[in-house]
Amino acid sequence: MPGLMLLDAQSVTKRFGGFNALTKVSLQVKEGERFGLIGPNGSGKTTLINCISGALRNDGGRIFFGGKEITNAPAHQRTRLGIVRSFQIPKPFTSMTVLENLCIPLEYAAPARSHTADVAAEAMEILQAIGIDSKANVLTTGLTQIEMRKLELARAMAAKPKLLISDEAMAGLSSAEVDDVLTILFRLNEHGITVIMIEHIMRAVMRFSERIAVLDAGEKIAEGTPEEIMRNKEVERAYLGE
């Protein structure tokens, strides 16, 4: 049902030694929503994602997913529940082919939500949907930059996410490649997947997101529709300085 809250992160705080990476950041994302997360470099976006996905343990606050509390759940469990993130710098499994890379999430993360007998066939389907099926039996070391990014997304898709967090998947790509990735994300959302997009490429974020949250120096300074964010003075100051 659209409109139900899927992700509820309450007052998330994360410290590294004496440094406050996140201070009481709250985030609510509705099911089926397209959500954007932006902010200057070092504002804590990736740290927040790490806390949500479980790569890091938050020091304060609570996180709920689909009504269940996941604050203390290990990362692999959160993935099995449906929170899937892609990495800014792709982290492929280097000893495996592109196809085999997808078999891991299909075997480990997806079974909680669906069962297919033929893992390889399903992996192939996903590769075809993304457009890198021609490289299915190639080792990951033989991929171009854009293909690696697509593999990252394909692998995330193979985990059958309810919530997909795309962490700067478009950084450094050409304009056409950005549109490529954007199309894939739109299509995923049409299939019912909630998407949180972290990007620096403003036109992509503005086009894609229904709502946007802005982080600066570990705090949430604004939240609203793209138009509201564009007009927000605080946001302007965060990006351009005083």
Partner: protein
């Protein structure tokens, strides 16, 4: 279908091993072959954690010696039969693997490696202070007389080791081709990504450590009967650690074949060399070869072979 052929092959090898004892009478050959077979088990066991999962264990000697000393304890206390010794040795070492894994695998792989080194020394110190199994002086174990259809106990031990080697390789083969093996490979390639793709990394790592420890303990269990005199400094010898690491590195770490190739090659070379050159020089060569392979040919012989085949078909 392929599985049935492999199972048949395994049975044939074991039967061959048993049959060999009818034909070959030179006791030295049995002694030497026993050592090589023992290393097949140790190298295969090491590789499950080292090659498949990417976590280096420097303390093979700890698990091996623990299996041996468990045997000694059971022999002295209950005169237990060999199958029980093997099972017990495996279980105790497996538990050690479970324990040390659970404690240290949450940390970086580097700390696990150092902890395994620490383990060997701690265990050795404990055994040295335990008089019942001989303490620092060591202990003599009487080998039983011939058993069943074997003319000597050593031949029996050889046959048993053949069986154990086949079992160890079978376990490694099964893990490698199963979903567990794929998960372990994911952990080895990129643990962070594996965890985020739903792989329960801690559970799988502890599993690998436990199985690895179990097999090493199994290899150590018949050791007292083989050598008849066991003392801590030889049972806990670092050489076991170096060899069980060098053999998979040389043979190739990504598949079950690597440790076998490495064990046969290096083991045989060492057996031949010990006769001709001093054991210290022997070890020096192992060290140099290990460093050479790690720098120049990290995928080992199997990897080199694969590369050659790819180039020829390209």
């Amino acid at each position: 279908m392929k599985n049935k052929w492999l199972l048949a092959l395994a049975i044939v090898i074991v039967l061959l091993g048993f049959a060999l004892t009818r034909v070959v009478k030179n006791p030295y050959l049995y002694f030497a072959s026993y050592v090589i077979l023992q290393y097949i088990v140790l190298a295969t066991a090491w590789n499950i954690l080292g090659g498949y999962t990417g976590y280096v264990n420097f303390g093979t000697a700890a698990f091996f010696a623990l299996g041996a000393y468990t045997s000694i304890f059971l022999i002295k206390a209950f005169a237990a039969p060999l199958p029980l010794l093997i099972l017990a040795g495996g279980l105790v070492s497996g538990l050690l693997g479970l324990g040390i894994g659970y404690l240290t695998l949450r940390l970086r792989g580097v700390f696990f490696a150092i902890a395994t080194l620490a383990l060997a020394v701690v265990l050795q110190t404990m055994v040295i202070n335990w008089q019942y199994v001989g303490g620092a002086k060591g202990i003599n174990i009487i080998r039983p007389r011939a058993v069943l259809f074997f003319t000597s106990y050593v031949e029996f031990l050889f046959a048993v080791m053949v069986l154990l080697a086949v079992v160890a390789v079978a376990v490694a083969w099964w893990i490698e081709h199963s979903w567990i093996g794929r998960g372990l490979a994911a952990i080895r390639d990129n643990e962070e990504a594996a965890e985020c793709m739903g792989v329960p990394t801690l559970k799988l790592k502890v599993f690998a450590t436990t199985v690895s420890g179990f097999l090493m303990g199994v290899a150590g269990a018949p050791f007292p009967y083989y050598l008849t005199f066991v003392e801590p400094s030889s049972a806990f010898n670092l050489d076991y650690g170096v060899n069980s690491l060098a053999m998979p590195m040389i043979g190739g770490t990504t598949t079950w074949m690597g440790p076998v190739i490495g064990a046969v090659l290096l083991g045989t070379a060492q057996q031949v060399a010990t006769v001709t050159i001093s054991s210290a020089l022997n070890l020096l060569i192992v060290g140099v070869v290990l460093v050479g392979f790690v720098i120049l040919a990290p995928e080992g012989i199997v990897g080199l072979a694969k590369r050659l085949m790819r180039r020829r078909s390209a």
